[in-house]
């Protein structure tokens, strides 16, 4: 009898501890969201924040339109480069990747996932900025594309691997060449998973500071030309937060809030897409 009481107590105690630590783990996330939201909301609540570019301290009506446009263009170009290449490599790895070559590709992309992003920035700096003799949005795109590539490759491989073999075989049994089976049957079936991977890569790239520091460099003015200096939201946060001026610090919080919301929306969106993928894969 006493034995059972002890066991019950032990069980409740262990559950309680795990519960407490889970709450503890969630506290930082909650604090980050709370701090950014409460400090950023006053800045974000003016429409000019999204319409105007940055202004020097003391001049009202400043915004981060230059950084939003810069982020969109730099990440957009990076996505255009990284997503097609990453998706095709991911399909290759999942569909044909049995040999030694494929395992090298896998290893390389795993290493690249873990590579410090500032090293990728330095690489883009040496590759694009130095020969061109000036900073540019495009050099930041190069750095971010390299950052995104392995994420897209591995999530695509995972999504394609989820597709049951029956689909592959029925395609082949119909007389389809293998590349058509891969691109016309397997890829559409895996599309939600592939899209999820691409979205996660976009979210990660949009939030990166280190690789854009000495590639895009930053720009107070709105520009749509990726061949010039450009600003991104993380750069605004970095530069403004370091100034002693209240209004610029406010702007930094606002930019951070925009960034956090953006990444949050992308992440939630990709989860939703992924849930559909899993449902779909079960039906196949």
């Amino acid at each position: 009898m006493r034995h059972i009481v002890m066991r019950r107590f032990g069980n409740t105690f262990a559950q309680g501890v795990m519960y407490a630590f889970t709450v503890l783990a969630l506290i930082p996330l909650g604090l980050v969201l709370w701090f950014t939201a409460s400090n950023g909301l006053p800045a974000v609540s003016h429409l000019e924040f999204f319409l105007n570019s940055q202004r020097p301290t003391g001049i009202p009506g400043g915004g981060v339109a230059n950084a939003i446009a810069g982020t969109a263009i730099i990440v957009g170009i990076a996505s255009l480069a990284a997503i097609p290449v990453g998706v095709l490599s991911g399909i290759y790895l999942a569909e044909y990747g049995a040999g030694r070559w494929a395992s090298w590709v896998r290893l390389a992309s795993d290493v690249l996932v873990g590579a410090p992003s500032i090293a990728l920035g330095l690489f883009a700096y040496a590759l694009v900025v130095v020969p061109q003799h000036h900073f540019s949005g495009i050099s930041a795109s190069v750095a971010l594309a390299i950052l995104m590539l392995p994420v897209v490759v591995r999530t695509t491989e995972g999504a394609v691997g989820l597709i049951p073999n029956g689909l592959r075989e029925s395609g082949l049994a119909l007389g389809l060449p293998r590349w058509r089976v891969s691109l016309q049957l397997i890829l559409p079936a895996a599309a939600p998973g592939v899209i999820t991977g691409a979205l996660l890569a976009v979210a990660r790239a949009a939030g990166e500071t280190a690789p854009v520091l000495f590639t895009a460099f930053g720009n107070q003015f709105l520009t749509l030309d990726p061949n010039r200096f450009m600003s991104t939201l993380p750069l605004v946060v970095f530069r403004d937060a370091l100034t002693p001026y209240k209004d610029l610090q406010q702007e930094a919080w606002g930019a951070a809030l925009v960034l956090v919301v953006m990444v949050l929306v992308i992440n939630l969106g990709s989860r939703w897409v992924l849930r559909r993928q899993i449902r779909l894969a079960r039906q196949l």
Binding site: E169, S170, L172, A173, L174, G175, A189, Q283, L284
Partner: protein, 259 residues
């Protein structure tokens, strides 16, 4: 009926290897045209392996290789390099229904579109294939619904329609009913009998009653206990094989004494 048919597939001392492991040894028999031939036998006897030789599906498996001949309209399936033509002529239906992730119409039209047929011809073939697969009445009002929205039995008939759309001559079926309920199974069996007027059907089944019900000829296979490879024990018209088996091992299997 049995006995009066020409030969569609002529299997000549066919052996099969997965790497160094022999899976089939010296299988020889003739599969008659426009008849249903069932391949039965206990698990691991190589019946699915044999079926997968007929459309070279084994090419996907690294290290798999066939020896011997399977003559099909004058070409040897084992050595042919025109795999896409072969697979168009020799269709296959798998154990689990595998509709493509697209609409019912697109599922059936997929093959014909690849062959570059005209739009009117494709619309026509979609309808005829679904009719031939006894599915048209159930789906004619929702051709644009996803193929996955159909029930298991309907999905299997959709897969058969998809296979018919590219006008095959032979249809291979690998336990096509094992994932289906009895009613759906009955429908597929009726359909098979119907299709055998125009097509040569080879079906692998675990279910002896099914083989007895639908097939005209039956091949009984067994794993050789010493060599651990599959071999053909007996091939005969279904009625003869089930009523008067020549080999004692066939008799033991069909009377349920082992397997």
């Amino acid at each position: 009926m049995p006995g009066s048919a020409g030969t569609k597939l002529e299997v000549g001392s066919l052996s099969f290897f997965y790497g160094k492991t022999r899976a089939l040894k010296d299988v020889t028999f003739d599969i008659p045209e426009r008849r249903i031939t069932a391949i039965i036998g206990p698990s691991g006897c190589g019946k699915t392996t044999l079926l997968r030789v007929f459309n070279r599906m084994y090419d996907l498996v690294p290290g798999a290789r066939a020896q011997g001949t399977v003559m099909f309209d004058g070409t040897d399936i084992v050595t042919t390099t025109k795999l896409l033509d072969l697979r168009q002529k020799v269709g296959m239906v798998f154990q689990r229904p595998s509709p493509f992730p697209m609409s019912i119409r697109d599922n059936v039209a997929f093959g014909p579109r690849l062959l570059g047929w005209s739009k009117t011809r494709i619309d026509d073939v979609v309808r005829r294939s679904l009719e031939a697969a006894a599915l048209w009445d159930e789906v004619s009002d929702r051709l644009d619904a996803p193929g996955t929205s159909l029930s298991g039995g309907q999905q299997q008939r959709l897969v058969i329609a998809r296979c018919l759309a590219v006008s095959p001559e032979v249809i291979l079926m690998d336990e096509p009913c094992s994932a289906l309920d009895p009613v759906a199974t009955l429908k597929i069996e009726d359909l098979m009998v119907e299709l055998a007027r125009d097509y040569t059907i080879v079906i692998v089944t675990h279910n002896m009653q099914q083989a007895a019900r639908v097939s005209d000829f039956t091949a009984f296979m067994l794993m050789n206990p010493e060599g651990r490879h599959g071999e053909l024990i007996e091939f005969a018209p279904t009625a003869d094989l089930f009523n008067a088996p020549r080999d004692p091992r066939t008799e033991a299997y069909i009377t349920g004494r082992f397997g």
